[in-house]
């Protein structure tokens, strides 16, 4: 890195500028390689094969209401950090289950966010939000208590314009395709509306059957009843499987190419028909045991993999989160308020039943994610570097970050290579952050590749091929988009 360059670029705390070399290695020679690699992929369209944007946005194409509703309320990365430093969720406008009043003035919420924005120093959230403010809303000063109102006004003003409606942003963000995540019971009416509107943007659903797969959830039996009813299937194990087939077909006809499964563990099971039937009837009872619930989820992963062989849906497994760890907050606010904590996750024993049955079939694609980084080099890379059916999902959730991505590549590449991974996905409901997230991933992958080129472990020509694959090709091919 050049010292003079560095001397020029120290901004005061108040200025917001995005350095063109951000996230690149400091060494001048390596940075030059990273720049070249990045230049070759920075304009590729975004493939977003796994995320949580709301299809309603694209169906109705209404303007977003205000900056707080856009940047604070939907983003558990944001409010968990503020909460950790003593800011009550009520003051951030998070709705309580009991209907008690919470802060309703978006400007006040925004100010509180701005006062605490320094907490995000060193986090990817800071970089995503700043890039979004800078690139999408032309903000040129850092968010602080002092600048909060000015930035609020500027963003709020722009949000009201036609160019800031969901579809216009989709196009501006250069999104090729975005997948939403949809419950098995969802009628996908928003997806239908999008397709019927004549708009060219490609928004596809993803089959997420957790509510009818996890017997420990409240209302499970009723949900299964409704689920089977949609497909006119009887309340038997065979009928239940038929309902899955039917709903998967329904999703697939609307563009889905994948299913998604969020489980406490990676456990899989393979039961014969009789054992499965008996288990099915047991898990519908209100007093379902913990072990039966786990076994049913395990069984369903194998059944879903079997159906994937038939209908070609790519399968995603996200295990290892202790959901709603904070009991008091869960009571007061419900799920998804930032109290999900990772746990140690076993893959090598857990996946064996499924792999024994289907792991050698290259027609199946099962993409594995983890919140337990110890599994990268010990279990995930060796498994994905052997079984034809397995691929590794990108650094996920807490690890969707520059250091997290670097660790992912360092801990998986030497065993599994690049081609047993599937590119980046943003996994977010923070719509505005999507370009920044993909940009961060591209910068980080190009930096990783640049270091390997500089150490003569790759040629630059093949690093360019790889950069394009990591930014675009692998996601497109792996998710069959």
């Amino acid at each position: 890195m050049n010292t003079d360059e560095q001397n020029e670029e120290i901004p005061s705390l108040g200025t917001l500028a995005l350095h063109p070399d951000r996230l690149f290695p400091p060494d001048a020679g390596v940075r030059a390689i990273a720049r070249r690699l990045y230049a070759s992929v920075s304009d590729l369209p975004i493939i977003s094969p796994h995320g949580h944007t709301d299809p309603r946005w694209f169906a109705t194409n209404k303007n977003f209401s205000d900056p707080a509703a856009l940047f604070v309320a939907p983003d558990h990365y944001v409010f968990r950090m503020l909460y950790s430093q003593g800011v009550p969720l009520e003051r951030l406008g998070i709705r309580r289950r009991d209907g008690e009043p919470v802060e309703a003035d978006p400007r006040k919420i925004w100010r509180l966010f701005a006062e605490h924005f320094h907490l995000f120093r060193g986090t990817p959230t800071r970089m995503w939000i700043e890039q979004s403010l800078h690139d999408t809303f032309s903000v040129r000063e850092r968010l602080t208590a002092e600048s909060a109102d000015r930035i609020y006004d500027q963003v709020n003003d722009l949000l009201a314009r036609p160019a800031f409606r969901p579809r216009a942003l989709f196009e501006r963000f250069n999104i090729d395709v975005i997948a939403t995540t949809d419950a098995a019971l969802d009628d996908l009416s928003h997806h239908d509306a999008i397709r019927q509107s004549g708009w060219s943007g490609r928004v596809v659903p993803t089959y997420r059957p957790d509510a009818v797969v996890d017997p420990s959830r409240k209302g499970f039996a009723a949900d299964v009843e409704a689920f089977n009813a949609i497909a006119s299937a009887p309340m038997t194990w065979a009928g239940y499987l038929e309902a899955h087939r039917s709903r998967r077909h329904y999703f697939k006809r609307r563009g889905a190419t994948a299913s998604d499964h969020g489980h406490p563990t990676a456990r899989t099971a393979n039961l014969d028909r009789v054992a499965a039937e008996q288990l099915f009837s047991r898990v519908l009872r209100p007093d379902v045991s913990t072990e039966d619930a786990e076994l049913f989820r395990a069984l369903l992963l194998t059944e879903m993999a079997r159906m994937s062989l038939d209908d070609g849906l790519v399968m995603q497994l996200h295990p290892g989160s202790f959901r709603n760890h904070n009991s008091a907050l869960f009571s007061a606010f419900g799920p998804d308020i930032g109290a999900d904590i990772p746990t140690p996750t076993d893959y090598v024993h857990a996946l064996k039943p499924l792999l024994d049955e289907l792991g050698n079939d290259p027609r199946l694609t099962l993409i594995l994610f983890t919140l337990d980084e110890t599994a990268y080099s010990r279990e995930l890379a060796p498994l994905a570097g052997h079984y034809p059916a397995l691929r590794l999902g990108p650094a996920w959730w807490f690890f969707d970050s520059p250091d997290g991505m670097r660790r992912f590549r360092e801990l998986t590449t030497e065993t599994a290579g690049f081609y047993n991974t599937v590119g980046f996905n943003d996994d977010t409901r923070a719509y505005l952050s999507i370009p920044a997230r993909h940009d961060m991933a591209r910068r980080c992958d190009c930096s990783f590749l640049a270091n390997r080129v500089a150490e003569h472990r790759l040629d630059e020509a093949e690093a360019q091929v790889l950069a394009a694959d990591l930014a675009h090709g692998l996601a497109k091919r792996s998710y069959r988009l």
Copy 2:
């Protein structure tokens, strides 16, 4: 890094010089940033909120006896390494329980240490000792078998002078405040003596009740009896809690701002009064079960947290060490002779009972340490990045090292930020190493920040704010000093 500069600085094996840029990143541009950051914090006074210096030193202010007693005998980092390469502890003057004679000549011990000093290449111990010899004792040659006697004489000579008494060194080391660690049964007479002496140095106690909290320790029941007696409390559960309150108050009046808890695991428990009373009576019996002992320790963590809410003492938890792993050495020499080995440590389930009760209260500060680095990104950063009561202690013990500190920051910052951490603490009984340890921490944190500035993930102006917080502000505020 500049090649010419490098060519100039290759010393022979015998010279001892401390390079002003040590521990800074090699790249010239990044190093320049690290230098500027370090320059802004290198002279800040030392806050040492957790350590094991002996208050008697400051109370009596007597000269230390000899170099071996200062550098070898109290430092388990030192003698464990020599022991691992076949040097018997007896030859290092470590006292045996059976009173069998051990080496008593400090010069012979020093020579043995010097002969094996090359074993410490690449370890932080080497850097601490060399910085101490260089800065405090003006030694300018590396410790070897050949130089051993000369260095012994030089250090020994200086140790006899007034300027090398504990209080003079305290001032020379620029220590603002140092916390000792004191048993719950300690009368803190040395602390009283310090305060009554009129000396201005701030030496405060820390409440460490392990001996009266861990029923698996020899003499536990007798210790509890003595403990309750000090506070004139009856031998009941209520009396026992009252004794804790009383002793905490006693410590607090003498300057304590924190309690400290070294447990085999992080397990916490929350029992109702009746269950707690029954457990209390069971753990006083000589045949206490392993499970009851663990449950009692778990319960006490929650009780201590409750008391912290009342009296404001900051709480520290150091779990995960398998103490006295080496049975033969434990029999011969007792505890703390370097045979404590880390074990896998669960936090996410273990802490839940305490957190369910008190984790949402921002008035509580519970600082978590670990010897299991896998917990940093998987459990500790997500927990501390969510619960208002939690903070992360610095890289501890085996990880109080340049690479250990880097991993700590890399694995926690992106999820928990900087402000859910508490700065550095030296955790040492090696008094002479304290300036070197804090200096190492400052250099490492500045290097970490400099890399982030060079990668444009932080502005240099905010990195300077952070550098001061990591070096001084966070420890002062978190420990309420």
Copy 3:
């Protein structure tokens, strides 16, 4: 790193060149240090104290048959990657147990390998194979579908020449000594033949008794019977131990300096004679329980360590692999076809029985390996940094790679130093890759040291001493070669 230099060296995808600075840090100053360190060790003879070359090669000294038999069939790193991307093992010529035909044309196998060679980008396998093709076979173009036939012809032609016979390569590779791995029942006739041939190459056996130590193996009782018979020992526990002593002596007389133990876990046990006798009779029954099998393996580790004290054989323990994870492939092809997957491995509790008995004896050397990198800093470095009998083996198997080696050093050095490690071993049956593997290890260790010199954590003069120890001295001394 110099940008101009970088601009010059971008080759097209087709050229194969080995950059003299490969694997060195990009920064020009650090790279200069790495170069100097590497220059001082690059020509040191190879000590290969643990590997899987076939002693028959050196006994018969016949030419290798063809490129596929040399580069593909024996290398599970190679065919596991191809298999993970859907290439059936049959097409790679891997023999099936049922005798069904597999691809027999080595040229076709080579072409298939070449078509998929891009999968190895970023893996050490790529670097080993390319260095071998380049240095040993003078290949100057990258392996692709297009170049496959030309390279096949070139390698095939050279393989037929006298200079490419095993012994000539041994000398050309500058191998000082190579240890093979040999079953306890092996008569070591090839080793005898080598010694009787008058050839000066030093090829020594290693005592690997797993087949007569692991009761869960098929044919265990028969193997033990044959084992005891060789030593004319009765089928009793005492006779079984006597057979081990006898076989160890037999191996030692043929040059062995070490034993090697591949166990599912690191568990050790210490039983009295009666309990051991009873266990011995139980494990010989066909219905041996899982727990008895594990206990017997555990007991044998302690017994082997006891024998090591008597006969001086260095002991190696490789735990933590879930062997033959892929049931279908195991049925079809047998063991060692790339479906061994690491598992979490405990050392701190597992080794305690052995360490309690023998860990304080510096005459014992027990070298520990791991496939669970979390144990490096948490358990292995603290254990090896304390117990005189313990040493750390190098980064192993999946971690025999540039990033794997860096992590090994970063996670062990600060606690255990360099001198509780034992240098590099290649652990390979891919004979041609041996020079490349040792070269990679030397480059990586020199890079690690160079970074520490550049950060002024080591002097360059002592880094040179260390570089030689890591490349040569530690392996030679630790394995008593």
